[in-house]
Assembly symmetry: D2
Homo-oligomer: 291 residues x 4
């Protein structure tokens, strides 16, 4: 062992912690009829509890190996996972609380990769699929393995409108404001959303589909004076359509599409030739809640 400068050690203790397995890539295929159904999840499971002995003394006797966690995820996917990923998450967390001597709670997070059926002559094919871009996400956590807090979400929903959007009437900083106002611009954003539920049973799959529809439709139904206002209206639409949802959070970057300066070359540009600027971007985050 290497010699290092002798160090005086101070007294420390373990704070909040968890451990588990991440990036478990799982596909479950339902072959009950010839029209197959598939679900593909990337799963992370984290366990919480009293793991002080392992951390501070190197005593592993109360630790479930993360390799066991992986085996369990695949095993319970066979025995359970009969409906939504959120319900599967509850099964997983409950299992580890039951089997881990020192495990008192935990969480399961997932990203679901979405597949559509391949279209042949206008029909979705029985067993051929093509991957879609947006992703479904979720997190199930529990302090006791019995009651659960569920959050569902969506990622990588990239939407854009070419008109009915502006940015004007904002606060002017004497020194640092240089941007001109406009009532006509291109607006684009890469929506990340997550939402929480009211008490009671929820059909998580059905709710997700409704939210996905609302987020897209809201883009079309108003003049947007700011990304902040559109964020709010998306929240309002979701809460109106989905009584199961208690509140919803958005992260919405403003993917700037800037009119390229063609006047220098004697050319007009009426929002026709745009520079899609990758950075820096305005970034809006916020919850919309029931009043």
């Amino acid at each position: 062992m290497t010699q290092t400068e002798s160090k005086t050690k101070v007294n420390v203790k373990l704070g909040e912690n968890n451990y588990g397995k991440a990036e478990v890539n799982l596909m479950k295929i339902n072959r009950d009829s010839k029209r197959h159904e598939i679900r593909e999840l990337q799963v992370r499971v984290g366990m919480t509890g009293d793991f002080d002995a392992a951390h501070s003394r190197g005593d592993n006797s109360e630790l479930i190996a993360t390799d066991t966690v992986r085996n369990t995820i695949y095993g319970l996917a066979k025995e359970g996972f009969g409906s939504s990923p959120e319900e599967f998450g509850k099964e997983l967390v409950a299992h580890f609380v039951k089997t881990g001597a020192k495990v008192t709670g935990g969480f399961m997070e997932f990203t679901e990769h979405l597949w559509d059926r391949v279209q042949v002559n206008g029909q979705g094919h029985d067993h051929s699929f093509v991957r879609q871009m947006p992703k479904r996400t979720g997190r199930v956590e529990s302090a006791d393995g019995k009651s659960f807090k569920v959050t569902s979400g969506i990622e990588e929903l990239y939407v854009l409108k070419t008109t009915e959007s502006g940015w004007e009437g904002y606060l002017l900083d004497e020194r640092f404001t240089t941007l001109p106002e406009t009532h006509e611009r291109v607006m684009a954003t890469f929506v990340t959303a997550k939402w929480e539920y009211n008490e009671g049973s929820v059909d998580y799959d059905a709710v997700w589909t409704k939210v996905f529809k609302q987020l897209q439709e809201t883009l079309t139904d108003h003049y947007s004076p700011s990304l902040q206002n559109t964020l709010y209206l998306m929240g309002e639409a979701v809460l109106s359509a989905c009584p199961e949802i208690s509140r919803i959070w958005f992260r919405m970057p403003n993917k700037h599409h800037l009119q390229y300066n063609l006047g220098r070359f004697g050319l007009e540009n009426n929002l026709e030739i745009m520079h899609v600027d990758p950075e820096p971007y305005g970034l809006m985050e916020g919850w919309v809640e029931r009043a």
Copy 2:
């Protein structure tokens, strides 16, 4: 200037080379009617010619600045780019051969990001769009700015079938073969394709749409004994549907979906619970050509 060991320099010369601008992110919006049309390209332009003076003597007098290349891409997008990205590429390369004293040829490469219309009540919206996953690609090159070689392509088309695929009867290596044979497996691949054209005029947009359809449909119409065979059949389908295409190349990784070993836990697994293994993957590349 820093002192370094004195070095004896040998005689060198410039070989094949090009320079230009990459990652020019451009959106062109057609606002001629209230039903807007958008196209989003990431463009790279490279110029070839006699650039020895700049390289070997630091004499820039014959170099077009790459910033000028950027301005030109946006400027010509306004004046031209009336049909496909491939035709726009020809306009660009021809322009630089004309304006660059020492530019004799060049190429334009693009990745087109595809957008669908947002659906509202079953109708595509006039000015709201949602990004799709597959990407359209292309490359136009010319040695003289007059005649062009065009290659078109597709990337990130991720397809999967849950049955009608196997892998058996292959060569056994005495020592290193451990994989069992199967006539029932999940097959998935992330298709990259590119194709070349016969002489004559081409409607590049129409051809692309036909290829995109053929690649998906072929997945559904045969039992696949190997990814190699499916690659070949995809090529056959494309060449049959598109007389404009002379040959087509594929890169198709075998995205392995492995049956997780649940027998260890007393559970059956009839290709139901799969591990989606990110690596290592079989990788097939090949051209399919007219006989």
Copy 3:
């Protein structure tokens, strides 16, 4: 405007929220002597306050444009940013609280890209630099623009040891445990850490350098019975070396290096030929705090 099904709207309100600019890529060069100094930051600024009017009514009159935020970041980088990124963050947040009518607080997050001097004849060069892999991170937040909570961190520190590590004596799950025990393995992890400070002034640059050193040295000074124990010992080492730090958090994936099964081919493998498995990985998170 598109017609959609008429929807009954429910009453909603804005919850916790912030907005600002992200991915502002800034380099500050100190040219005061011929030995230049550079710092490169990717900065995000978020502002908090009463932004209800903008969200719920589309009234922008109290909003600072995010473009103004960008200008301000570059402007204040010139006038301020005399020492660490953390102190620069305080300057930025204080500024926006002062200039934004409705801004009551906010945060600044940064990722610092680290550059070493190019070595020539054993000396670091005056003005030539080469990028390093690990990244320095930080977040400064304030509820009032006057008092600040500072968190500093490190990312992408990828370390590995080829011996003096094991994993044994862990809890056996009757059904799902299949992993054999070992007292000799390869251990590797991609360290993400962040830490908080005690009251009082801090030399953030000096502390970061000490943490960076401790995290690497700790890897070498003990037999590791688990990644959890190494996490704890890293925390102990940092808290011992840096009295300014109150507590430190780690995220440490277990980058599995698995002995490839060569026995099937009649070959021995004494931890010599390893498969570097990208997934799934054990993932440990935890705080180490002063007792």
Copy 4:
């Protein structure tokens, strides 16, 4: 099987093709002394030959399974791989030509992840390592399994100089040139290089180290009138230092560091506050060869 429109099939044939295994992640650890040595490679192997039967008729009988390729890579890493990755590549390709009935040639490509020893009290540690940013690459190919063409390379070498660089005297396009000239700027590039060898035996490891040094030192030893000229001088330096190398190719993006316009805010900016623009970037590619 799904019914699709009946399609008339045209006659096609297989063109140039290869198949094999990609992203095989391998670490070899030399434990012969207590000072361990490690090498980490990501390997791809492709085989060429007459694979028509598999492609056109679904006859796999002459195909080596890619799973066998993976096993072989790990197996031969144990038995061979005694010196450089390039020599290991030759062993692999020769093996597949020998064992694959229809394999006549092939290639092996690698990316080597580089690790330094962790420093403790100024000494590199015996068995603890920390990952570095630049990557070593290479490709070995053969048409017959006996004679080989070797290309070696480097990737992700990100270098920057804060002075001794300019861009002036370039060709002005009447319409599209807007960039001002300068004799003082920041120059940065993310070097990708690859080189070929003269006949004769080569110590690939030693050559790589020399190239790595030359590329960095050249940055420091001249005023750069253009990235093209620096590319050329890097080539000259490498060819002067390494008689084994016949020619070298570079891809060098111009990572623009633009002086942010602070004049609008009444602030001077003498190349002190820079915007690190991620796109679009000038991109230079070229070979430097022996005259």
